[in-house]
Symmetry: C2
Subunit: 596 residues, 2 copies
């Protein structure tokens, strides 16, 4: 090794010894007689003094050519810093290395993205991605990468302790055109045939249960060729697991233990087990969303019975049409949101399908002031106020729409207000489960009118219904709830899983309900259906979003900041230029051609 | 959990307790009054007794319907087996579970591939791959998968202990048409552009060193669209690492420690460190190969000076043309290889480019008997015999050809004879390094006459020469040796690495020697060349073949037996049918079409 210590290692107890460090020049101060350099590596910073008498004149001279990001190897005497020059913010702040010699390992041009933590202006993301080799040198990116490594390693340790077998499943798989778009790979050996990159190892892990592996885990790369939203990447990583001879409590129990371990070891937070559980129906009723942020209250109150008693026509007509009137009561919201603030909220909810925003401010003595107050009798206002627990200074916000419409609007409002009014501490972590999801939902697919309104699987077609709901498969699919469970952290779906169907009969029923005929099922999932015939054990599993975990545990908002080499929203790698042009010869061998 | 114990867990000390097991019926014996079943899971086998008085009559009756691979959950009393019925070969062989009840979890059709270890006939590989869900249920496949998991986990533990950061690099990368063929992925967003699946994370890991990560590791999936040999797969896995501020001894030292740990923890073998090292030149001289099998001797002896003194024209003309005459002396080979055996060896070496095989048998009193003995004087025979250390009963085999030709033939002979004469114990493990590889070799590319005879990089164009050989880059490239090192286990290259070039000047010289002009270099590796300008530290790394490691540590010959879902030699997955046809709509979105 060129070095004896890292730049984060030396302490006052090392004073008097000789050390060699390697690293990048983070900053330098020429004080005439010599130079101070902060030398940086991923472990920290150490102050290097190029001063007499330790440093020979020639090295002092040479040191004056050092510039930011030059790479050096420097040997010197470890010494306590002079009185008054200690830096308590730095782990090595009690010492300096008094150079006796150094070697320039490499020069650096002036970097377009400064890797120094002292740099105040972070350049635009495009420049950072183009120069990822510099951007990744920034300490905050290094912390994110090291956090990712640590979370992944702790996960793997945990699953090893629990007898899971880590098994690699193929990246070159078979296309099963459903869900998101597949990335395709033309075959050179079988012209006209294509591999598909996996959207998840779902079918392989079910096969592994049928093959007796009993407890499978993999940190699995998954691919979806979707129109990219801010928080999606074409390739992403999930902690993927599956267990046999279990019920859903066993899988949630395993994940409970993992969450407890990670919270303790990564954040030093004690989590109480079992994690709280809430049904899908309760989550939608109380919070309007299946991944509610439980760091704060601001629950939804249903006023469908009271609201039409007013003279406000909108509420009446919505309820007459089978819709709902629901509201949230924002404590001390009246003060926080002025008329202009409320106008902004009104614009905001329009983005979620609302036509406007009805509101009340609670004034002295319970008086309600609003754009629509005149339509309500005092008695009705009192009844509503009581149900909402309204107090002076509160702001009440309404949504009147179909059930799902009110959920959408009030969830959006709740999330926005929770953030704007700081209803929770940013360091809070809240972990919970949402369970008993519907098996089926009505397809919404503007591109495919034939599918519109038909049943589709809320998770995937291999999900098992609750045993006591098996009968609903035929009598009332809408009522049928699944053995499905989502892990929710701070209002984000951090993972989701289900118990799978392990008998061929139930599987057939579900396929037929989803309109998947025998031939199609055979073509897409033939091997799974075949495997079900040869001794498939009861099994289920879950997948956790690793990228999401790192974001949540690291308090990082941008998914591209937890991935070393991410793609842009247009699925490009700005550093390498992928995707790129290829030689005609390559395409010819694959028997494909570009056809714009 | 449906079970209280696994099928490998119960011992005599558990006798008297009640347990519930789940698993597959491995075999059953109806003895009239009841049934014995061996129940199997991945942990082992347990004997279940469906007999009175423990088992109620109804369950005895029901148990008679059990067939191979039925899945059951069975509860019963753990009891010591009766005297004389203990099975010392089974971990659970001292007990049986006397069933008090059971539940059929799933039935199974008669399996085309029997998962029972008792099955004597292993079906053909095609049937096994088609029914991988059954094949993977066989205990020997389960052992291989668990060994793979264990090796991988121990590797990860080791690198965590040594401060490595595990960083994921992209699967959707940029094509750099060099080396093997890339797998290509058409982009839906950028029509006419393609991603390439990585042949290795080489450039990314070098970027990570330039970004200051210092010690990177990843268990990385790699892809090569090659014509498949028996031991290659389109996708394979390597333990990939890179270190900064190091020299090659540091990297070999890290791997030495890993080998010591794995040998101890996986095989309970003590390995002495440092692992022995041999230069490339020495390996070729003594063994004719750069990954010599050092479990046995049978070294090559050079007779180029002596051989032409005979009247044997072939030797003379080969040496006159600048070639070599080299031989191996097979101890007691004369007995092992009859005339017919030697004929077989003669046929064998023809597959390696030899025109025939000259040989001597050493008979009583050092007399040499052979097809060509008449051409040699007694004195010359004596001199050659002495150099070869020939004794009565030995067999001497010659190769006369250009240097590399003799290497190829004698290495092939040595390997074959080592195996056939059992010159080593199958359980032996020999670990060593081969170092100081040539930087360059002359291109052999029948498809590309322009490249023929030009220099190509033996490893890759980023490999650094030995510091003391820098001058040969210009004066004598052939002489120039690289800071390159291969890990060799039992005659297999188990890994290979190099110190990389970290200064732009040397990198330019190497590119120009390889005929890569500036524009091409910029187009392919622009970001790397750019990163070299901004403070690149000295760095180097290595990649170990994980599939190969599992084969070597598990004594497994077939690479497809260490991969859960491998491809055939035609790159097909016989279970899923990948690669498959895709919808025209999918291709249209990608702006490609099939063009046979």
């Amino acid at each position: 090794m060129l070095r004896t210590h890292t730049c984060g290692q030396l302490r006052e107890s090392d004073a008097g010894s000789v050390a060699t460090l390697c690293g990048w020049v983070d900053s330098y101060r020429d004080h005439g007689g010599g130079l101070f350099v902060d030398l940086r590596d991923r472990y920290g910073l150490t102050q290097i003094a190029f001063n007499p008498p330790d440093t020979p004149e020639e090295f002092i001279e040479a040191s004056k050519d050092l510039r930011a990001e030059y790479v050096i190897e420097v040997t010197g005497n470890v010494a306590a810093r002079p009185e008054g020059q200690h830096n308590p913010k730095l782990a090595t702040g009690d010492i300096e290395l008094r150079a006796t010699g150094f070697r320039l390992l490499n020069k650096a041009k002036t970097p377009p993205v400064s890797p120094s933590a002292k740099a105040t202006d972070l350049p635009g993301e495009e420049l950072r991605l183009e120069n990822r080799f510099l951007d990744l040198r920034r300490p905050s990116m290094q912390r994110a990468m090291m956090l990712r490594d640590k979370i992944t390693k702790r996960m793997r340790d945990y699953f090893e302790e629990h007898d899971f077998v880590d098994i690699e499943t193929p990246i070159l798989g078979r296309s099963t055109p459903e869900g998101a778009r597949d990335y395709l790979v033309p075959s050179r050996v079988h012209h006209g045939h294509f591999y598909a990159l996996p959207q998840s190892p779902q079918l392989y892990k079910q096969v592994l249960m049928m093959a007796g592996y009993d407890r499978y885990v993999q940190v699995a790369r998954c691919f979806r060729d979707e129109d990219l939203r801010a928080d999606r990447q074409p390739e992403f990583t999930q902690l993927d697991l599956e267990m046999a001879f279990v019920e859903q409590d066993d899988i949630m129990g395993i994940i409970d233990g993992l969450v407890e371990k990670l919270a303790k070891e990564i954040l030093d937070i004690d989590v109480k087990l079992p994690l709280p559980r809430m049904t899908y129906d309760e989550a939608m009723t109380r919070f309007g969303h299946d991944a509610p942020d439980l760091r704060f209250g601001l629950e939804i109150v249903d006023l469908t019975d009271l609201a039409p008693q007013s003279d406000f026509g909108v509420f009446k007509s919505v309820v007459d049409a089978g819709g709902h009137v629901r509201a949230i009561c924002v404590k001390k919201g009246a003060e926080h949101y002025s008329r202009r603030g409320i106008d902004a909220l009104t614009e905001f909810v329009k983005g979620y399908g609302a036509k406007g925003l009805a509101w009340f401010r609670v004034e002295a003595e319970g008086k309600l002031n609003s754009n629509i107050a005149k339509f309500f009798s005092d008695d009705l206002l009192a009844q509503m106020g009581e149900r909402l627990g309204a107090e002076e200074g509160d702001l009440i916000l309404f949504s009147a729409d179909k059930w799902l419409g009110t959920c959408k609007v009030l969830h959006a409002l709740r999330t926005k207000i929770g953030e704007e009014m700081k209803l929770y501490d940013e360091k809070d972590m809240h972990f919970s489960w949402v369970v008993e999801f519907p098996m089926f939902e009505r397809t919404e697919d503007a591109d495919n009118p034939q599918a519109e309104g038909k049943w589709s699987a809320m998770h995937h077609p291999f999900t098992a219904p609750l045993p006591e709901h098996l009968e609903y498969l035929e009598s009332d699919p809408e009522k049928c709830r699944a053995q499905a469970y989502d892990l929710v952290i701070n209002g984000s779906e951090a993972g989701g899983g289900t118990i799978r169907i392990h008998d061929a009969g139930t599987q057939s029923k579900v396929f037929s309900l989803l309109g998947i005929d025998k031939e199609t099922a055979q073509d897409r999932f033939g091997f799974l259906l075949e495997a079900l015939q040869y001794g498939a054990p009861p099994h289920g599993g879950i997948a956790l979003g690793l990228d999401r975990f790192v974001m949540l545990f690291g308090g990082i908002d941008n998914i591209r900041d937890v991935i070393a080499f991410p793609k842009t929203q247009k699925a490009s790698d700005l550093m390498t230029g992928a995707p790129g042009k290829v030689d005609a010869r390559q395409l010819k061998e694959l028997a494909v051609k570009v056809d714009m």
